[in-house]
Symmetry: C2
Subunit: 326 residues, 2 copies
DNA sequence: CTGAATATGATAATCGATTGACATACCATT
DNA sequence: AATGGTATGTCAATCGATTATCATATTCAG
């Protein structure tokens, strides 16, 4: 493949001049620009990013570590991150930790080996002390981590409040909250807190069911709903901590003959891809993922340039009313 | 960050020896190995992959270009690709073309700039001639491309046949096929061919509706199903060219009071994440994505080493019977 | 006409690792 | 004692770009 020297020779210019054209630095005449561009086209030249990164001491990549690519929430998040990275001239090095601690740690080191500009860490389980000495900016999304440089989350508490108020407004009085049980303290736990708080303010004491999750999914959906069905039947409005859980509940209700929304109104959280087209379509709390992803990438860039950034940014959420609570 | 020289100094060895330990090449004593490992740990050394890639003339990355990350089919595919890449020591450079021709082409060049080992091209629209002179292996998945070095697909035709036979076996006689209309000739078109062929063999002439797609999704679902509802009502079994389409059909049927599976049996294609838990759960044709992804990564590696590979590999499909056709 | 601004060339160092050539040891065998 | 395998050191080139320095040449304004 052609190198910058080939381009210089072809254009009849010095290597330094070509480099200045490429990086738009110093004095360059229009004629030089044209000559370089023509030579590049003729030789089908693409600058070697490896060499550039080596010289610049960092690549143009951003490492993204998620626990599950296929999960619709993460799929959406990755999509937003890719778009944001593209806009800011960065690339995504996508790494799937599968919630495996060792894998997550291994991927952090891999990011260092590749001299990424920053690491976006989504949820996951990484313990703090092991990654304390990483000298690459770490931005977390929807996850607490003391070792991180910046964290981004949505207003989970407010989301719970919105869900409660919506259900109450729709006439529900026997409220239930089903929350996924993660192994460490996550910002998402605040969803339930907000829900409870709002319920109590309206004089309602909600039921709460903890659902054991494995890699962000129910371990055994059939058993879980079978065991919980009595309590579900006693309620007329339920808020689930994520849309995946909500859709599974709706399926269990369909099987059990509980009609949604007539018998039971359902509100989820996240507003993932399928939420708008499942049957019935799902009322949910939407996280502004596009904005959150954009901010994460932006902060990673700022941190890379040693500029100060806010330690924690909270984005507003919005209730999207659909059929499941109409 | 520590360099190989620092490690050599710390271990009291020469740079060459350290390099040989790192790359497991030539003669190395156990004591040298230990000393190097200890020095690496002490200095928290991570080899600079940029420097390595520059020297080796290719990175350890594989570029993956998809038209939509968030689409559940691609999310699953990306997940499988990441896993396969991990197993073979490669990383994923994830690029979302959004079906935009220029973006896809831009991303191909970006892959060249990053000296990726290979490019996995999923569906998408890239025209052939523009990428003919790419000197990086290109493996396509579910997509025809003359310029590609290898293509991988599932047995789409057979999938259509399985769908038809399943519906007929379940007692359906008024069969319908709704297919997404892509702008170029894709392997997925064979799904409909297989369906038709099998129907005709059983003496049934299926109805066919073409659904206009935009970026692998219905442009206007409400209008589409409103306009098609009469023909849908006349049938008792429908095969859709993908699960996303199938779920939207099920929603439209729910709205229109058509019961699934009692009034209409539904079969989709792909077996994406939600297919097993939507209401009702969706009978579908499963592509062996894990195997297809593994093969794609494997072929990219072989091609990179100039080894011969099969030009086209077709994987078997399997019908997964669920509630929507029971 | 002179000095400043503009434009480019030539050259070399640098980023961090790989690799090969060559030299030099220390062991075992035979 | 000679031979050959094992283990390592030294040194230098290389990958492809960036960047700084210094030199040179042109152009233009005052």
């Amino acid at each position: 493949m052609a190198t910058i020297k080939d381009v210089a020779r072809e254009a009849g210019l010095a290597v330094g001049t070509v480099s200045r054209v490429l990086n738009n630095r110093g004095y360059i005449s229009e004629s030089a620009r044209v000559k370089v561009r023509e030579a590049m086209d003729k030789l089908d030249y693409q600058p070697n990013e490896m060499a550039r990164s080596l010289q610049k001491k960092h690549s143009n990549m951003i490492g993204v570590i998620v626990p599950r690519i296929e999960h619709p929430y993460f799929a959406k998040l990755i999509s937003c991150l890719e778009e944001a990275a593209y806009e800011q001239g960065n690339r995504l090095l996508l790494l799937n930790s599968k919630g495996i601690r060792d894998r997550e740690h291994e991927y952090m080191e891999l990011c260092r080996r590749n001299r990424v500009q920053g690491i976006i860490l989504c949820n996951g389980n990484l313990d703090l002390e092991r990654s304390g000495d990483i000298n690459i900016p770490v931005v977390t999304i929807e996850r607490k981590m003391e070792g991180g440089d910046a964290s981004i989350e949505c207003n989970n508490f407010e989301g719970g409040v919105l869900a409660a108020e919506h259900l109450i407004e729709k006439g529900c009085r026997r409220l239930l909250h089903i929350r996924g049980l993660a192994d460490i303290n996550m910002p998402a736990d605040q969803r339930g807190e907000g829900f409870e708080t709002a319920c109590l303010q309206h004089g309602i004491k909600p039921e709460i069911i903890h659902a054991p999750l494995l890699e962000y999914q129910l371990e055994n959906p059939e058993d879980f709903f079978k065991n919980s069905m009595d309590r579900i039947k006693e309620s007329d409005g339920v808020f689930l901590s994520d849309d995946l859980l909500a859709v599974r509940l709706m399926h269990a209700c369909w099987t059990a003959g509980i009609r949604i929304p007539e018998d039971l109104k359902v509100v989820g959280f996240d507003d993932v891809h399928f939420s708008s087209y499942v049957t019935p379509s799902l009322t949910t709390i939407r996280q502004p993922l596009r904005e959150m992803a954009g901010e994460a990438i932006r902060l990673a860039g700022l941190l890379n340039r040693k500029e100060p950034v806010p330690k924690n940014t909270v984005f507003p959420v919005k209730l999207i009313a659909r059929e499941s609570s109409s």
